[in-house]
Amino acid sequence: MRQLLAGNYAVAEAVRLARVQFVAAYPITPQTPIYEKLSDMENEGKLAGVMMRTESEHSAMAACVSASLTGVRTFTATASQGLALMHEMLHFASGNRVPIVMCNVNRVLAVPWAFGSDQSDSLSQRDTGWLQFYCEDAQEALDTVIQAYRIAENALLPVLVAIDGFFTSHFIEPVEVPDQETVDAYLPPFRVPTRFDIESPAYISNVVNPEQYMGYRQRSFEDVEATRPIIREANAEYERIVGRGYGVIEAVDTEGAEVVLVTSGAMTGTARVAVAAMREKGVAAGLLKLKALRPFPREEVREALAGVPKVAVIDRDVSLGNGGIWCQELKSALYGMERPPVVTGYIAGICGADVSPDMIEQMALDALSGKARLDLPTFVRK
C-alpha cells in the first residue's frame, strides 16, 4: 500500500513486517522516531515481539547479541555517538556471527557538536565485520531492511543499513509498503537454532589460541566474501516476490561517459539531477551509486568504470590522514585495472552542509579539467 512516510517510519514498517521479535534501543537524534514508532507498535500489539529500553547503545547491542544467540530475530537502530559507543559491541556481534540487523541514521560525530547528516559514523565502523548497505531514500530503506534479514540469516553475519540523517530519516516521501503476506513469502520466521541447548550444553565464544583465532578470522573473511551471491539472490528474490530490486551498485549513464560521479546515500538523488543537467548541456557525465560498502562491490565497480577516463568521488565524510573513505575504497578496488580512471576525491556535505546540483556539476567539471588535485581530496562548500 502506498503511504507518505518519513524514512524513519519506513524503517519501522520494515521491522514490523519482518516480524522482528526483539528490539533493544536507546534514543538519539535523528533515530528517535524509529524507536518511538516501534514503541507505539508494541503498545498497539502490532509488533511480533518485545522492546527493551536499555540505558545505553552499548547495552542495546549487547542485549541484541545475546537474544540473537538464544534464537530470536533482533533489531536495533542508532546514530553517531550511539554507534561509536557501540563500537566494541559491533566487533562482538560479528565475531559471534549473529544475524542482527541495525539501522544507522547517519549523523556527524562530535566534536565539534552538531547534528547534521554525515556518513563518518558508519563508514568508520567498516572494519567491524558488519555488512553495510547505504540507502538513497525511504523506499530503499524499507526494502533494504527486509532484505537484510534474509541476507543476515543466511550468512550468519550482522547487517548495518544506513540512511542519511534528516535527508532520508525525516523527509516524507511516497513509499510502497508491501503487505504482511508478501513479506512472509519472502522472509520465513526466524529459524536459526539456539546456541544454548539445555540437552546438549556447550560453552560458546570462549578463549582460543592465536592459531585458532586466525582460523576463525579467516573463516569469517571467507564467509563475508561468500555473501556476494547471497546478496544477489536476496535481491533477485525480493524483486520477484515484492517487485523491487536494487543491486550493490547502480550505474546511470556510465556507458561512454567522460566523467563518472560516485555517490552514496541521499546525495545520489541530487547527483541524478546534476548528471541529467550536464547531459543536457552536452557533458558526457555519468553516475555510479554505491549501495554496498561491505563486501565492497569490487568486480561490479571495475566493470562499471572500465574505459571511463575520469572519476569524481563525493564523500560526505573524511578520514583524517587519507581523505574520503568511499574514495579510498574505490581506489583500492580499481588497483590493478588496465588503464584505470583518474580518480579525484571531493569532500562535501559534511554535517549536512548543503550540496546543490550546481556544486556537484562543478565537481564533475573540475575532475574533467585535468587540473584537479589528485594527492588530497578537495573540500567543497558554499
Binding site: Q21, F22, A24, G49, V50, M52, R53, T54, E55, S56, H58, S59, A60, A62, A63, C64, V65, S66, A67, S68, L69, T70, G71, V72, E88, M89, F92, T194, R195, F196, D197, I198, P201, A202, Y203, I204, S205, N206, V207, V208, N209, Q212
Partner: protein, 296 residues
C-alpha cells in the same frame, strides 16, 4: 548440619573437575554451589575475569550447562537479552544467570546493571566479590576496602568500599541478598529463593581469594566465615528494596581476627583496626535499624 533441602539436592554436579582455578579458590566454590542449586535448565553468562579462566579455553568447558563468554561490562544486558528471548520462545523454565566479579559489577558494569535492574529483567545476577581485579593481577576496584594493599594501591586504598547493597536496594529488585562461601547452606538457600522469583535477583557473594588477599591456600573458607562472624560482611536479604531481613546472627567476633589472617592488611596499625571496628559496628547498627524499621 545440612538442611533437608540440601540433602535432597541432586547428586549431579554442574561444574567439572580439572579447571584452572588457583588451589583454594573461593569463586570456584561459589560457582559450584550456585550451579548445583540451579540445576540443568540454566544458561550462564560469564565475563573476562577469574571465571573466564576457570571456565576453560576452547575446546573445553568447565560447566555442564550452556555458557556464554560475554564482554566485561555487559553481564547484565547479556542476561537480559537471553531472558527476553527465552520468554519469547516459551522457555521460561530455563534460568538465566550472570556471573560477574566486583570489577564487572561495582565499576565497569554498574551502568548496565542499573539498566537491567530498572527494567526488572528476569535473571539472577551473581556478583563474586574478591574485592579487587584479581584476574589481571590484584588491582584495586571500588569494592576494595579502605586502606587495603593492592598492586595499584601499594600504600593502601584511599576510598572506602562502595555500599553496593544500598545501590541495589535503591533499584527495588524483588530480591537481593548477601552471601558467603563460608556459610554454604545460607548461600544455597538464597539461590533457591532467587530461582523461584520472577524479575531481577541479585546475590552479592563474598569469595575470598588467597592469592590476592595474601593468605595460605587453605584459608579462603575461614576468611569468609570470619568476614561474616566479625560483621564485616553481614548476611541479609533485601526484598523489593525496602524489607531487610538478617539471615544469620553473627557472633560479633572482633575484626582483628579477620584482619590478622590476611597479608593485604599486614600494614594495619592498631588505630586502623580500631577505626575499622568502629565502622563495622556503625554499619551493623544501621543494618539492624533498617531491619527494625521495615517492620513498622
Amino acid at each position: 548440619m545440612i538442611t533437608e533441602a540440601t540433602a535432597k539436592m541432586e547428586e549431579q554436579e554442574y561444574m567439572r573437575c580439572g579447571h584452572m582455578a588457583c588451589p583454594g579458590c573461593g569463586e570456584a566454590t561459589a560457582l559450584r554451589l550456585v550451579l548445583k542449586v540451579l540445576g540443568k535448565k540454566t544458561i550462564m553468562v560469564i565475563l573476562p575475569s577469574c571465571v573466564g579462566v576457570i571456565s576453560a579455553t576452547y575446546p573445553n568447558s568447565t560447566f555442564a550447562v550452556p555458557c556464554f563468554h560475554s564482554a566485561f561490562e555487559i553481564a547484565a544486558p547479556t542476561a537480559s537479552g537471553i531472558s527476553a528471548a527465552l520468554r519469547l520462545q516459551g522457555r521460561e523454565d530455563v534460568t538465566a544467570v550472570a556471573f560477574a566479579g566486583d570489577g564487572g559489577t561495582f565499576d565497569i558494569g554498574l551502568q548496565s546493571l542499573s539498566g537491567a535492574a530498572d527494567r526488572n529483567d528476569n535473571f539472577i545476577y551473581v556478583c563474586l566479590d574478591n574485592e579487587a581485579y584479581m584476574n589481571t593481577g590484584i588491582q584495586s576496584s571500588s569494592s576494595t576496602p579502605q586502606n587495603t594493599w593492592t598492586m595499584t594501591t601499594p600504600g593502601g586504598r584511599r576510598g572506602r568500599k562502595k555500599k553496593f547493597m544500598q545501590i541495589i536496594a535503591a533499584h527495588r529488585m524483588p530480591y537481593a541478598a548477601t552471601a558467603s562461601i563460608g556459610h554454604p547452606e545460607d548461600l544455597m538457600e538464597k539461590v533457591r529463593k532467587a530461582k523461584a522469583i520472577k524479575g531481577m535477583k541479585f546475590l552479592h557473594v563474598l569469595t575470598p581469594c588467597s592469592t590476592g588477599w595474601r593468605m595460605p591456600e587453605h584459608m579462603s573458607a575461614r576468611a569468609a566465615q570470619l568476614a561474616v562472624e566479625t560483621r564485616v560482611f553481614p548476611l541479609y536479604e533485601v526484598i523489593d528494596g525496602r524489607e531487610y531481613r538478617i539471615t544469620h546472627e553473627p557472633k560479633g567476633l572482633p575484626v582483628d581476627e579477620y584482619v590478622r589472617i590476611q597479608g593485604r592488611f599486614r600494614h594495619f596499625t592498631s588505630d586502623d583496626i580500631r577505626r575499622l571496628q568502629a565502622e563495622v559496628d556503625e554499619e551493623w547498627a544501621l543494618l539492624k535499624g533498617l531491619e527494625k524499621g521495615c517492620k513498622a
